[in-house]
């Protein structure tokens, strides 16, 4: 168990290291001049010397005037000091502050969507594996949901419930007429705005989870131990119960592998609903070529996904006796 976790931690540290290196490398080694790009976008001034001054300022900020290894070390140093640069789009707010404001919305959106879709998907997938009739309805529906691009489902939901029926707001995290406070009115407004983006994330993910669980259970029901129980005349209930418990384990690891896709789904869902999380921020950053902000978002997404992965690993170790009882290596 210790070895298993140590191995995982090592992989995550290595991944983090590589991610940061990519984050540092991309603006420096990609073709084109990001600072020049940025300035032509943001500067209203056509004064050449003013632009040159700004260029020098930002070059210095990037540290582009230093030798590469020095730049790299400085990058790490400022990273640990929580300094991710200054947003040009929301000048002069530091990137870290901009992101800090957005992150709670992401957690608020993603955590319930992931947990509930995982739970419901597994339940329904297990049911689908049990009965032919339900299999013929739940499974095709799950495949269609899983094939739906996140943003399109978001668009459809917001069009139908927001525009046609007019019962849900289609933009923002709470009503613009309210100030954030701990009143029932405000909390109600937050939930009201939260529901549609949550629902569209939930639905796509539900499809994927249900398919995964259905296929895993069918696989487990064909396994030798299920067959043996059958030959000993064990009731279907017991056999299914064992199959479900075995199938849930790969569903936990499967969730870790899907996190990236879910996060990407959240990004575009936020864009559809103008929900002020990282995704919405990112769109603005891209449109305004705010490179510091893009890089900051990148790092935050990576760190978030790594932390979530690690949490799932720990859960997995706790629920699988094979890893819990000190077996090393992978269980694939």
């Amino acid at each position: 168990m210790k070895r298993y976790l140590l191995r995982k931690i090592l992989i995550y540290l290595l991944t983090f290291f590589i991610a940061v290196t990519i984050d540092w490398m991309i603006p420096r080694f990609m073709p084109g001049d990001p600072i020049r790009n940025m300035l032509t976008r943001v500067s209203v001034s056509s004064n050449a010397t003013a632009i040159q001054q700004m260029y020098d300022y930002y070059s210095h900020l990037f540290g582009l005037d230093l030798p590469l290894w020095q730049q790299y070390l400085n990058f790490w140093k400022s990273l640990f000091q929580g300094d991710l640069g200054i947003s040009t789009y929301l000048f002069p707010t530091p990137v870290i502050d901009v992101i800090k404001r957005a992150v709670p919305y992401d957690i608020f959106l993603l955590l319930p969507a992931i947990l509930l879709s995982w739970y419901a998907g597994n339940k329904f997938g297990a049911v689908a594996a049990r009965s032919k009739r339900l299999d013929n309805t739940i499974t095709p529906l799950s495949y269609i949901l899983n094939a739906t691009p996140y943003m399109w489902l978001g668009i459809l939901l917001s069009w139908f419930f927001g525009i046609i029926l007019g019962i849900f707001p289609i933009a923002g995290a709470y009503s613009y007429s309210l100030q954030p406070s701990f009143s029932w009115k405000f909390i109600g407004s937050v939930l009201h705005h939260w529901f549609l983006p949550f629902l569209s994330l939930f639905m796509v993910e539900f499809g994927g989870q249900a398919i995964g669980m259905r296929n895993m259970i069918i696989y487990e029901l064909e396994a030798d131990y299920s067959h043996y129980l059958g030959t000993l005349g064990a009731p279907q209930k017991l056999i299914r119960n064992y199959a479900f418990r075995n199938a849930i384990l790969p569903q936990v690891t499967g969730l870790a592998l899907k996190l990236g896709t879910i996060v990407a789904g959240a990004l575009v869902t936020e864009v559809v609903f103008s929900y002020p999380g990282i995704g919405y921020l990112l769109l603005a950053a891209i449109q305004n070529q705010d490179y510091f902000l893009i890089q900051g978002c990148f790092l935050f997404i990576i760190v978030g996904v790594l932390i979530a992965n690690f949490a799932i690993d720990i859960i997995y170790v706790l629920i699988d006796p094979r890893t819990r009882r000190g077996m090393t290596g992978e269980t694939s």
């Binding site: 396994a223 030798d224 131990y225 067959h227 043996y228 129980l229 059958g230 030959t231 000993l232 005349g233 064990a234 009731p235 209930k237 017991l238 064992y242 418990r245 075995n246 384990l249 699988d320 006796p321 094979r322 009882r325 077996m327």
Partner: protein, 319 residues
């Protein structure tokens, strides 16, 4: 009489049509008998035993009946069979190493199974522990997960579990094929011990290795391509077989004291027929050195001497 099979036919359903895996099997196993069931792979040995205990799709029941202790077994009815499985008829499967739920401790798993059979685990526990002693497993295994046991331990665990309710008939499906020679002998002797201790009242021992049967079986039944070829006492099958297929099978066995550099081991030329569209008549016809016109009809499985059955036109009363 422990087991009586009459005219049992079982097919496999596939998209391309029915595979005639078992045809018109009539067979008895007496109380206290260990019957060896031999034949090439794909001859229907395992299908025969599977259909006695767990006839599930794509297997399809066609005709025949199976009596155990004088009562008919509803082998075509998966639900009704449940009350007979484990209690009256049980199996040590080929895949014994993977037969236990990997994420449940063995003791609780047995408890789940017994509870579902309305048997009290605590009542049975002393006997369970006694049998663990018989197969030389520590009592601690009940608190362990299957992955904490070695392959051989898992197999012995399955032997204990399968016979825990003292079935009338125990089927041992290729339980020695994955083992080395020393363990083969130990495992097959355990089976005899189980019978002596009353853990089961009769047994069918499936194998393609006749030399093991020589050590433990009372009788040997030889199958070929879905049909029974010959059944007799072990002595008779080994020393004076009558069916041409049995003769070739016995002749292909290595014999002690014979130098094989001089005399090559002879296989049987040719292949068994495909059972999707089986040939008419005796299925051994194409490979049989003695085949003649009569062999285009299916030979009946008849008793030519006391307790010696054979299906061949060349032999016995037909000749």
């Amino acid at each position: 009489m422990s087991l009586q099979i009459e005219n049992l036919s079982v097919y496999y359903q596939t998209l391309k049509g029915d595979v005639h895996a078992l045809e018109d099997i009539t067979l008895d196993v007496k109380l206290g008998e260990i019957m060896g069931l031999a034949g090439e792979s794909g001859c229907g040995k395992t299908t025969l035993c599977q259909s006695l205990i767990y006839l599930n799709p794509p297997m399809k029941y066609m005709t025949g009946r199976v009596m155990l202790n004088g009562n008919e077994l509803p082998i075509w009815d998966a639900e009704k069979m449940n009350q007979h499985r484990f209690r009256d008829i049980s199996i040590i499967p080929q895949y014994a190493m993977n037969a236990l739920n990997p994420i449940r401790k063995i003791g609780p798993m047995i408890r789940d199974l017994l509870t579902s059979k309305k048997v009290d685990y605590k009542d049975r526990l002393p006997e369970l522990k006694h049998r663990l002693d018989v197969v030389n497993l520590p009592h601690d295994v009940l608190g362990m997960y299957p992955f904490e046991l070695s392959g051989g331990m898992k197999q012995r665990m399955v032997m204990v579990l399968s016979t825990l309710l003292d079935p009338t008939l125990l089927i041992a499906d290729e339980i020695t094929s994955a083992l080395d020679v020393a363990s083969q002998k130990a495992v097959s002797e355990l089976l005899v011990k189980f019978l002596d201790e009353g853990c089961c009242k009769s047994a069918i021992f499936i194998t393609h290795d006749i030399s093991i049967l020589y050590q433990i079986a009372n009788t040997i039944t030889v199958m070929y391509a879905g049909y029974l070829a010959e059944k007799a006492s072990t002595e008779t099958i080994i020393h004076s077989p009558r069916h041409p297929y049995t003769k070739l099978l016995i002749a292909s066995l290595p014999k002690i004291g014979v130098k094989y550099s001089e005399k090559h081991l002879k296989g049987i030329p040719g292949h068994p027929p495909l059972l999707l569209n089986p040939p008419i008549g005796c299925r051994f016809r194409d490979r049989c050195p003695l085949a003649f016109e009569k062999c285009t009809e299916v030979p009946p499985f008849v008793e030519i001497e006391k307790d010696h059955f054979i299906a061949c036109w060349r032999e016995g009363s037909h000749a």
